[in-house]
């Protein structure tokens, strides 16, 4: 793994409201270049709201978000040009086929996508045979590969992935992890949200655990395990004596099932 460098994303005291409900409460974290940073939390913890504020889909009540040195409120177009985003539920115009969707977003991101480059891209994501298929006709794994290809079409400094492996079979999930790691190897930063411990441990260099809109712990997966290994709450929820990240997560966020 390459040594991380400067901050590619800085989130400072972010507060997001839905009406009177505070969904994100003084959240601060940073993502380094060449790092995969995970935002881990149960349902309704504020992961997607935090990500939406970073992406510019939600306007924060207070706090700053800086992407590649650009404040997302002051220079939104520059900030968005520096990031690639894969939303939790991505959809494209249903009438367009895979090649047309790629060309659309290449144009939007200012990339000159020749037929040769397009064909090469489709080969890389194993969709050369699906060039003329509509997005809705693809399998879940294929849709994720197209989404990720669009997310990274302009080689962004920061890639944002909202629960990228949700609904994928194990093979597709492993393939996606490999692609995410390849983004890191290029020196770009990745911020992903997940509630999968396996994913957090397998892919993330650092994670923040978020619950009820607040960051409650930050560190590498192993450092979090080591730090909380002897906590009574963690030991109480552990199974078969081995402390896992899931045990730490449950101890910190509670056993209650979230809607």
């Amino acid at each position: 793994m390459n040594a991380p460098q400067q901050n590619i994303l800085e989130v400072d005291n972010l507060n997001v409201y839905y009406g009177t409900f505070k969904a994100v409460n003084n959240v601060s974290f940073n993502v380094l270049q060449g790092e995969i940073f995970g935002l881990l939390g149960p349902n309704g913890a504020g992961k997607t709201s935090t990500l939406s504020a970073v992406e510019g889909l939600l306007k924060q009540h207070s706090g700053t978000v800086t992407v590649a040195g650009y404040n997302t409120l002051e220079k939104p177009l520059y900030a968005r040009a520096a990031m690639g985003v894969q939303l939790q539920a991505t959809s494209f115009q249903p009438e367009l086929n895979v090649a047309e969707i790629l060309k659309l977003y290449a144009g939007i991101y200012g990339i000159n996508l020749t037929e040769e480059k397009l064909h090469k891209m489709l080969l890389e994501i194993n969709l050369a045979d699906a060039e003329t298929k509509r997005f809705g006709q693809l399998s879940g794994g294929q849709q994720q590969r197209v989404s990720l290809a669009i997310t990274t079409i302009h080689d962004p400094k920061l890639v944002l992935l909202d629960e990228p492996t949700s609904g994928l079979d194990p093979q597709s999930r492993r393939q996606l992890w490999t692609r995410i790691e390849a983004i890191r190897e290029k020196g770009n930063g990745v911020l992903l949200t997940t509630h999968s411990m396996e994913e957090a441990e397998a892919v993330c260099d650092r994670i923040s655990i978020i619950d009820h809109g607040r960051i409650i712990a930050t560190g590498t997966p192993q450092s979090l395990i080591d730090k909380h290994r002897d906590d009574p709450e963690v030991i109480a929820v552990s199974r078969r004596g081995k402390i896992t990240l899931e045990d730490v997560f449950i101890a910190l966020t509670g056993l209650e099932v979230r809607a």
């Binding site: 177009l77 968005r80 040009a81 520096a82 959809s91 144009g107």
Partner: protein
């Protein structure tokens, strides 16, 4: 860390290409939008001699414009918003206005196509001939008139998020315009009703179209109708933009 943002012209070109492709792939619904005015032109053939060619053509074009604004534009916006298409575009480095501008330019091209189709139908089916100035002026009037229904469509998607509800509301209003506009114009519902219809968005658009088709007959009434048409557009557009939300949640 230097980052380049793409030129707005390049972004617009990409959006227009995609939106035109979407329109082409939906050509069946485009044909339906063009069919209604052609049916009016054909079925009102007998009225050409009594009420005049301008009466028939202006009503046909008006009904076509209502379909473009209320059915085509409104439903595509509601559907794409519900699917999350706009969300994906919003996280891209493009000014938000380009998303709607591209869609509106597509509808504008449809308005021009519709008007030309009505001209051709009027000539071929009813032997209605218009001066060259009349054709040019009517194209412009169709664009101005189309803006009323596009902005009314914007109000509908601004106020209503559910795409099925948008569809049924748009259809109801469209049906209302057909019934009230057509029967009102024909005087079937009485003179008072006809006068009232003249000041509705249907009536004002029909009046400026009729005035454009026969420029020599342009009068003060047509001027007032033009002002009202512009007024309707400004009011609907202001409300539609104010109320519009980019996501359906």
């Amino acid at each position: 860390m230097e980052v380049n943002i793409p030129k707005t012209s390049a972004v617009m070109a990409s959006l227009l290409r995609a939106d035109f492709t979407t329109l082409w792939r939906n050509r069946r619904s485009v044909v339906m939008v063009l069919l209604v005015p052609m049916i009016i032109v054909f079925s009102w053939k007998a009225l050409v001699a009594t009420a005049g060619g301008a009466f028939v053509l202006s009503n046909s074009i008006t009904l076509g414009l209502v379909a473009v604004g209320l059915m085509g534009y409104t439903n595509s916006i509601a559907r794409d918003r519900d699917k999350g298409v706009f969300q994906r575009l919003r996280v891209s480095p493009l000014p938000l206005w380009t998303i709607m501008a591209s869609r509106l330019l597509i509808q504008l091209s449809l308005i021009i196509l519709l008007t030309i189709v009505v001209f051709i139908s009027g000539y071929q089916l009813d032997h209605i001939t218009i001066s060259a100035g009349g054709y040019a002026l009517t194209l412009l009037a169709a664009i101005i008139g189309g803006a009323v229904y596009l902005s009314l469509g914007q109000v509908i998607v601004g106020r209503i998020k559910n795409p099925e509800t948008v569809n049924s509301t748009a259809r109801l209003i469209y049906f209302g315009f057909i019934m009230v506009g057509m029967f009102g114009e024909l005087g079937v519902l009485g003179d008072k009703f006809k006068k009232a219809v003249d000041w509705t968005p249907y009536g004002t658009v029909k009046t400026i179209l009729a005035g454009s088709l026969e420029p020599m007959k342009w009068n003060n009434n047509t001027n007032v109708a033009l002002l009202l048409t512009l007024g309707y557009t400004i009011v609907f557009a202001t409300l539609g933009i104010k109320w519009f939300k980019w996501d359906s949640k």
